[in-house]
């Protein structure tokens, strides 16, 4: 057996294009998923029982069903139900936004609940309403505690996006399959792709460690 990277290097532009699409899907899913997750978390913490139950159902549903099933449902079933066209790109964004929002909701919820009840009391006593307390006092502290879980979930999301190759969206994984088949070099192609994911995710997690350290050092602790 002999390693030959020449065909992979020749197809590098394809792989980079795929990488760009992978990042695009991940970034957009985060951009929609994080605010959606906050919304779901606030609904779940609501004292109105129906509101809280609806949110709990959505969260549990998307956390327990396999992401591949969700993706296929949005790509194949959803268009039939509402007679609209669904491109692989749209289906991917919709699926991963909602799917990750369910996980982010739980991160937000546990972050908010981890803040000492006295913080709500302190802000309430100076006349803040619930929204002001949340925005000015609770969330700034909760978000800081959420960073590790948030980073882990984002990495998980990045990995899950490889599923979009199954509905023919040209992400990194799809391009790799394509290249491997055309060059008959699966060994080199998939090795390089694994390496790209490794570098990307390892860099990402190093960055998150740095951010955590910076926050820990800044003196503005979250206990008081």
């Amino acid at each position: 057996m002999e390693w030959n990277f020449a065909p992979v290097l020749g197809g590098m532009d394809l792989l980079l294009w795929g990488l760009l699409n992978t990042l695009k899907i991940t970034g957009l899913a985060l951009a929609f998923g994080v605010p959606l997750g906050l919304g779901l978390a606030l609904m779940r913490l609501s004292t109105l029982r129906p509101v809280s139950m609806v949110s709990a159902f959505i969260i549990e549903f998307f956390r327990t069903t396999p992401p591949l099933v969700q993706l296929f449902w949005f790509f194949f079933a959803f268009p039939i139900l509402f007679s609209i066209n669904m491109t692989p790109f749209t289906a991917a964004i919709v699926t991963f936004s909602i799917q990750s929002s369910a996980f982010f909701a739980e991160i937000f919820r546990s972050g908010i609940q981890s803040i000492d009840h006295g913080q709500w009391e302190g802000s309430k006593a100076i006349g803040m309403n619930r929204n002001q307390s949340l925005r000015r006092v609770i969330l700034p502290q909760a978000v800081k505690r959420m960073i590790p879980a948030f980073m882990e979930r984002s990495i998980e999301l990045l990995k899950t996006t490889t599923l979009v190759s199954t509905i023919a969206y040209t992400d990194l994984m799809y391009q790799a399959n394509d290249l491997a088949q055309r060059t008959f070099r699966p060994l080199e192609v998939y090795s390089v792709v694994a390496l790209i994911y490794f570098v990307l995710i390892f860099g990402f997690s190093q960055l998150s460690i740095m951010v955590e350290r910076r926050l820990a050092k800044s003196g503005e602790g979250t206990v008081g």
Partner: protein, 257 residues
């Protein structure tokens, strides 16, 4: 004397537990009132019902003669916006400070003025610095609360409440979580406030503070006002057995004269 706070027929129950069983009280402007009582007597709950940290089960609270909430069919309804407005006029200081750890001392004191009162930044800053000076902590303005001692934290909490220009201040066992050597500086700050004419209602176990600073002392037992009077008379000559026991419990380990 002008009446500032009046409480009429206040009841509060948590589930089946009746914590307050019909409280009537009146606090005049400039008065310092101390609420005494053993734990579970309802004194903290009473204090928390005055600024609606807890919603009374029944009864009414009046601030400057104005009833809080609107009566509708035997029940009183409270709107969140009205209660928030009310709380800007009734300052509260807690046992555990509840400072915002992600903000500096100055930001803590400015926060309510900016977010709630809508004051502009320079006005809020000026006001905050003068209140921090008042409690003797102007030099700590740039620090985070985690760098302060318990006594300093509590004085910042007092400044934060004062910066809202409240009509009355509520103190809920504000020295109970402090090391004994730090209690004095907080009590001194409170005494100074009382002397400057601030209207105050204090739940405390510091009998010396009640004796020297309060105009009036209320002794609560099992959710009702048991005895009431001037501290010099009441603390020296309690009329009821229950209050005698309470005071004796406090005096058990006093230094010999």
């Amino acid at each position: 004397m002008t009446e500032l706070i009046r409480v009429e027929g206040l009841h509060k129950s948590f589930g089946t537990l009746d914590v307050l069983k019909g409280i009537d009280l009146q606090v005049n402007a400039g008065e310092t009132m101390v609420l005494l009582g053993s734990s579970g007597s309802g004194k903290s709950t009473l204090l928390r019902c005055i600024n609606f940290m807890e919603t009374p089960t029944s009864g009414r609270v009046y601030l400057n003669g104005e009833a809080v909430g609107t009566a509708a069919g035997g029940k009183t309804r409270y709107k969140e916006a009205d209660l928030c407005k009310l709380r800007t006029r009734i300052g509260m200081v807690f046992q555990h400070f509840n400072l915002f750890p992600h903000m500096t001392v100055l930001q803590n004191v400015m926060e309510g003025q900016l977010t709630v009162l809508g004051r502009d930044k320079s006005e809020a800053q000026e006001k905050s610095m003068s209140q921090l000076t008042r409690v003797g902590l102007a030099d700590k303005a740039a620090e985070y609360p985690s760098r302060l001692s318990g006594g300093q934290k509590q004085r910042v909490a007092i400044a934060r409440a004062l910066a809202m220009d409240p009509d009355v201040m509520l103190f809920d066992e504000v020295t109970s979580a402090l090391d004994p050597e730090l209690v004095g500086e907080v009590l001194k700050t409170m005494r100074q406030l009382a002397e400057e004419g601030m209207t105050m209602i204090c739940v405390t176990h510091e009998l010396g503070f009640a004796y020297h600073v309060a105009n009036r002392v209320l002794f609560l037992d099992q959710g009702a006002i048991h005895e009431e009077g001037e501290p010099q008379t009441l603390l020296r000559n309690p009329q009821t057995q229950r209050m005698k026991e309470f005071l004796e419990g406090h005096a058990l380990f006093k230094l010999p004269e």
